[in-house]
């Protein structure tokens, strides 16, 4: 039980630290303080990337408090909670967070957070803001959770349409590599299939369901190649990207591009393959700033955070996700302050703030496109764009910026 002793000590130390930190805060006067809760995964499947995401989130709040909040008379205190990416854990944490912190909004991390809280939030009146793309099954009106991006399926078909245009073809044949390991993956595949069924421009030759762990996909890949697939859409995880790539190589079809998303993108998959150059000609697509773009306003803002606000995370997709999430959140707070005043901020007010009007791309320093949230769904249903990044000549480069996201019917 030595570990228990250590645990007790740690708890005591932590308590003391929190106390010491809270004391001077209460002595300070001016701005009205509000709390923001961050859901994090430090001991589950995303533990490795969590510090990078968290870094971006924290820095934005510090920056905003200093640069914007001070003027508005608002200070946002950001605090993270570990959910282990587990629904039950989020559910047991949240009531405590709600009572102790009385947050005006939550930074969510992923699907389990939405699952655990989606039915509670309308009662608790706190909006949950995500950084990830949305899902078809959560596409409902009047939600309390929000994604600054369309669904993964939207992002995928945006790529398909763009790539078809590049090839100058009438129809693009794609194969979807999905998995039943998570309902979310099936949802993505269904969205893409739905779009293909209504638009002759994209044809899904087959949706391959596979394990999300290293596995041998060569026969499946060979089959979809023979069916004429011109691109493989993979939005599951990096292990599947690697397996698909090896499958393509085994079929002698190394030239067929893969398309990935933000969580299994070129950088991560390249690392898993042992070299980015192996993904030459493949793409990643998402509706947020591309890390390949080091000349835009997003990168400048990031440099500023790194220089002045102690961001340690390198310029990559995860830091972008954390930053992007925090940025549109604080903009929503600003819109809410405009409506109800600095002293009257509540969760509902922040939600109304999101609905209050367009958050232009400039406001998020190009991290996000123009966002106009409506009550139709958890994400801006219209007018979104996506960025497409590729590997060209062994270099990570932006292939296309602000590609329009087509209209996908609900599925």
């Amino acid at each position: 039980m030595k570990s228990f002793g250590r645990t007790v000590l740690a708890v005591l130390l932590a308590g003391a630290a929190v106390f010491a930190w809270a004391l001077p805060a209460s002595l300070r006067a001016a701005p009205v303080e509000y709390n923001v809760a961050g859901l994090a995964d430090y001991s589950g499947p995303y533990a490795d990337v969590m510090p990078l995401i968290s870094d971006g989130r924290k820095a934005v709040f510090t920056w905003w408090n200093k640069e914007v909040g001070a003027k508005l008379g608002v200070q946002l205190n950001f605090k993270e909670f570990d959910t282990r990416y587990d629904t039950a854990q989020t559910a047991s944490l949240w009531p405590g967070v709600l009572a102790d912190l009385k947050p005006i909004m939550i930074m969510g991390l992923g699907g389990p957070d939405v699952a655990a809280l989606r039915q509670r939030l309308p009662d608790d009146k706190v909006p949950l803001l995500m950084s990830t793309a949305a899902y078809g099954f959560a596409w409902q009106p009047e939600t309390w959770f929000f994604n600054p991006r369309p669904t993964y399926a939207h992002e995928a078909v945006a790529f398909a349409e763009w790539y078809r245009g590049q090839k100058g073809a009438k129809t693009l044949k794609v194969a979807v590599i999905s998995s039943e390991a998570s309902p979310a993956y099936i949802d993505i595949a269904k969205g893409i299939e739905k779009y293909a069924s209504m638009n002759p421009t994209v044809e899904v030759v087959e949706t391959v369901y596979t394990a999300v762990q290293p596995t041998d996909l060569s026969s499946q890949i060979r089959r979809v190649v023979r069916k004429g697939a011109e691109a493989l859409l993979i939005q599951t995880n990096t292990a599947v990207v690697v397996a698909s790539k090896r499958g393509l190589e085994a079929a002698g079809q190394g030239g067929i591009p893969l398309m990935m998303s933000s969580h299994n993108g070129l950088a991560a998959s390249g690392k898993a393959l042992g070299g980015l150059e192996q993904l030459e000609g493949s793409f990643e697509v998402y509706g947020i700033a591309s890390p390949a773009d080091t000349s835009g306003s997003a990168y400048k803002f990031y440099e500023m955070l790194r220089n002045d606000f102690g961001v340690k995370a390198p310029w990559n997709i995860l830091a972008i996700q954390g930053t992007e999430q925090a940025l549109y959140s604080v903009r929503a707070v600003e819109q809410a302050v405009k409506k109800v005043g600095a002293a009257n901020l509540t969760g509902s007010a922040v939600r109304e703030g999101l609905y209050a009007g367009k958050i232009p791309s400039e406001a998020t320093f190009g991290f996000l496109p123009d966002l106009t949230f409506t009550r139709e769904g958890p994400f801006p249903v219209r007018g979104l764009t996506a960025n497409i990044t590729t590997v060209k000549g062994g270099k990570y480069t932006l292939a296309a910026a602000n590609v329009p996201v087509p209209v996908v019917e609900k599925w």
Binding site: Y209, S218, A250
Partner: protein, 294 residues
Amino acid sequence: MTDFLIYLIEGALIGQVYALIAMGFVVIYRASKVFNFAQGELVVLGGYLVWWMVLGSGLPAWVGIPLAFALAALTGIVIERIFFSRLVGESLFSMVMVTVGLLVLLRGVFLVIWGAHVRPFPMIVPMRPLILGELFISRSLLIGGAVTVVAAVGLSWFFNRTTAGLRMTAVAEDHQIAMSLGISVKRSVAFAWMLGAVLSTVGAIVFLNGKSLSFLASDIGFAALPVAMLAGLESIGGLILAGLVVGIAQGMAAAYLDPLLGGGVSTVLPFVVMILILFFRPNGLFGWKLIERV
């Protein structure tokens, strides 16, 4: 027809990979009667060790791989020292339950040492397929299949013919009797984990070759389970046949049922096949029959 042949051959070969993974599991059972829930973690351990010795340290494969085997064996012994040496004589249930704890614990250890990110696994065996007319056969799977057969034959011989093997068989029969015969159950359990860890490393090489590695790859442990059950927990030779049955069934399902039904039939099918066959042969195809006396 060619397609069918390819699916058949590939399914059979993938089945042998499962059999190899299951072998690590059966070996531990066969030499200690401990049913190892953490088998998937052992495979991941092997994978990390190979990665570490080959890609991580930059050693050539012919140096790095033997080193990885040695380290795996060492880890096996350490596991026995820490977790099992004090449990000899306790109920078998306790020993099996320790492996449940081990499952969670090893995962944490991997996270601490190697982190959670996905990394490349070295290409030990060439990936280029073997082309026979219209047949494409994965060279790594072919080599993996050969390794499986050789290992199975060798270990069967070891357990049934050699004195050391018989000693372990005795431990798998009954710890108390083994002890009364002057057999060190501790040493047998230690050897079991050593052998299990090394076999899992072989399995990792065949299974992960040229692909990617993260702590989540341990799912393979459960995927290989139906093969072990079908063979019968005591049978090493039986793994080959069980691997063929499961692999081919899964391959056929992936090729013909999945596209038809639009879902992952191929992932549940091995379990369904397992239950059906166990119903007719409750100790697997070649497992020890329960001798009931009244």
